[in-house]
Symmetry: C2
Subunit: 467 residues, 2 copies
């Protein structure tokens, strides 16, 4: 990953001096720390912050914001650094506020199926913490991301087809706004018609409206029964049509994921699986014993009609975990496939009736552009991902990758879809945001200006320059 | 309902003259028409608009907005006039834009389970229109409201516990903004991480940010099997605890509605039912034959543990329709109970673990205040309604009703709930909005000012005066 030339905000020295006086050792200007906070796991050029502050409370986040606000110094929130579109980089310099030490689960309301967490809690940590309650939190992007980051990018994952995304599962927030106020958005009630939905406005705002310091999430009961299976298909169309017909039939499927043959091969190598190297669905059913059985039979019938083989069920919990870990490790599997190559992860989401068309045309593009780019997708939502492998020694490779991304996004938009289903805009998809939303981006920008008039909150992201 | 003194915006004559030149007969200043558009079905004081325009297209709505914007004349959108908190009244005068003639279903995307409609389409009309497709739209506030109005108030209804509210079911919008631009918000894709969620910002904004001219909604397959039942309880606690335990157990119940004994009595009289006059749950199960049977058995077991009787199933579709019609007509049943009395409908929503406490304390208040106020609720969401009956000949009655509402809202907020689960703020709950959201109302106001700087879109609603 390239490192961009440093940009320093005008009053960065005063900002750092004031912060240092408060945070002492918990403020760092060391190159290694700044690098870790300016580079995500994407292929984007890195931009380092001028300093990193490790905040340990909402009050401390407020202090950072108040000082930065006074000097109009940019602030970038940092959770685990696993975002994919340059969200955590600092193209205008400034202060990275690392909230990973704010990692307490504050309140578990078992009876109400909700939980209040600090932003540095990771999704796996949360599920460990609440395991004994019989509840779970379903949203699972590939990485063990922080809940704060997942909220900021409107993350989803393999369970979204049944349980929704962060959009549907964040009930309330505590935030520090650009002017340094602490405020609560939303309530624990399941629904409300009281005023503008500020929670949904902050979910997916990528740190551009404020810093999230507490999140109230919905939880779900761990189903009485769960069954997972893989199913290999003769054709990609067959696999995709199975997904479409399953959704249309109303089967409340919990997970339905596609790995194309290239991706299956890669996963086999990395995760030591022995799946047939074919376009494959990973499926999971949740419910009572009887209902899981019935759902699986219905989907097996649909799959068989579409050239799918018999479901290979994983009956043990450990086996199921291993199967989904392999799915979550798909990106790492791809990275291992081409040692030393870069990895450009991108995603789009289309209405499900256009999914087969969109994936097949993208596969043609991959061949035409002579790229290695396994496809994996949360296809129940119409969402799929490409991991485009980028050879650092081939100067044309990055250009071809860029062309592939361009074509895929243009196609998705033409089909009524979106330029990103779950990765977000960050620095990487700014031009596509304008292509997708046209005129209405002006409303987003008006909202941004109204809430952060000095543009100190993660400036440069989502919109590019604001003036 | 009282009629407030008329307020006229400064340039109303010029506004009306320009509109008249374009709309001719489709602009009315007749008292009867203005009254119909200034009074909703609530107990709020009515404020009449200066004129009503019947728009027939997005382009016509744009014309109205452009003219009003030039003169800074208030604009209030009107669908069916069935809102409950004074949403459609014109406290600052201005133009009511009636969109009821924009009532076309524009596009049914069966394969994608979505539909594009004009704002004047009503929920029943939509379900009639799509019946042959095997799909349905689940959101069902009591009235046969317009989809535009339901979107604006973030409506829900009896199916929300399973299918969500308008918040979860509006995918995309076309709107005319306060400066007269037509723009599209959101896409048909099921999820997106591309920029701020403007769709969710407009859903529930009660006409204060723009006029909605097209709505893209999610649809669902009509379940293979549906079973509905009533279940009478010895105590209100038993009924409420059944709801809580059902939700906690993860049964995917489609509807679970509470009618207290007073409400059952009222429904029996109005809808010619013969239910035992007890606290009663109305339930509905959706799924396959086997799954519906299994769900019903699980909930019956929970109910029996809580003092509930045997489920009385409605096996015929017509019988089921009649049962839910009776539930939807609860407000009218109450109105019939006290001929000539006014009806003050109010609702709150609390975390479900606090529901029994909140309802029981409210029942005590009703007795203490010597009021007639049947309770009915979408209790699966923690949401319940009071219909407070107001005797126009008793000058203290309205005051006591107000006191009851005050106490109920204060209690709901104290329990972590919201001042309105589905009716909205309008004119009726402004003070509660501030109590509920505190500091963060300033963000809502900032957003409002950014998008509608001259405050011409439904001014006075949600926030009260903005300066």
């Amino acid at each position: 990953m390239a490192l961009a030339a440093a940009v320093h905000p005008p009053h960065i020295d005063e900002t750092i001096a004031e912060l240092k006086a408060i945070f002492g050792d918990r403020l760092s200007t060391a190159a290694a720390v700044r690098e870790q906070h300016g580079k995500d796991i994407s292929y984007h050029e890195a931009h380092l912050p001028d300093a990193v502050v490790f905040a340990e409370s909402t009050a401390e986040v407020q202090k950072v914001v108040q000082i930065c606000a006074r000097y109009r110094t940019p602030i970038i929130a940092f959770g685990t650094g696993t975002s994919l579109e340059g969200h955590i980089s600092a193209p205008q310099g400034g202060i990275s506020v690392d909230v990973s030490r704010m990692n307490q689960v504050l309140q578990v309301n078992e009876a109400d199926l909700d939980v209040v967490v600090q932003p540095g809690v990771t999704r796996k940590q949360l599920n460990e913490y609440i395991r004994a309650t019989g509840l779970f939190f379903p949203i699972d992007p590939g990485a063990d991301a922080s809940i704060g980051g997942m909220t900021s990018t409107r993350a989803s994952g393999t369970n979204a087809v049944r349980y929704g995304t962060m959009r549907e599962n964040v009930l309330a927030l505590q935030v520090v706004t650009a002017d340094g106020r602490i405020m609560r958005l939303g309530r624990r009630a399941r629904k409300s018609a009281a005023g503008y939905d500020l929670v949904k406005l902050f979910v997916g705002s990528e740190g551009t409206l404020g810093i999230i310091t507490e999140i109230t999430l919905r939880l779900y009961g761990i189903p009485e029964a769960m069954a997972a299976a893989t199913c290999a298909f003769e054709s990609l169309e067959g696999a995709v049509n199975t997904v479409i017909q399953t959704i249309q039939s109303g089967v409340p499927i919990a997970r339905i994921e596609l790995l194309d043959d290239i991706q299956v091969d890669s996963v086999n190598r990395y995760s030591k699986m022995s799946l047939p190297v074919k376009n494959t669905l990973f499926l999971e059913f949740h419910g009572t014993e009887a209902s899981v059985k019935e759902q699986a039979e219905m989907v097996q019938a649909i799959a068989s009609d579409n050239g799918g083989g018999s479901f290979a069920f994983t009956t043990q919990a450990e086996e199921r975990t291993r199967m989904w870990q392999a799915r979550h490790d798909a990106a790492w599997a791809n990275k291992a496939l081409k040692a030393g190559w870069g990895m450009w992860a991108t995603d789009v989401c289309v209405p499900i009736s256009r999914l087969a068309e969109c994936i097949l045309a993208t596969k043609n593009d991959i061949v035409a552009l002579d790229l290695v780019a396994p496809i994996v997708g949360h296809v129940g939502d119409g969402n799929f991902h490409l991991t485009i492998m980028v050879d650092p020694d081939d100067p044309t490779c990055l250009k071809r990758a860029d062309a592939l991304n361009d074509r895929m996004v243009a196609r998705a938009l033409e089909l009524g879809g979106t330029c990103t289903g779950e990765h977000g805009v960050g620095l990487g998809k700014i031009k596509y945001l304008y292509a997708e939303h046209g005129e209405s981006v002006s409303l987003m920008r008006a909202v941004k200006r109204a809430i952060d008039p000095d543009n100190i909150m993660n400036p440069g992201k989502i919109f590019g320059p604001l003036n």
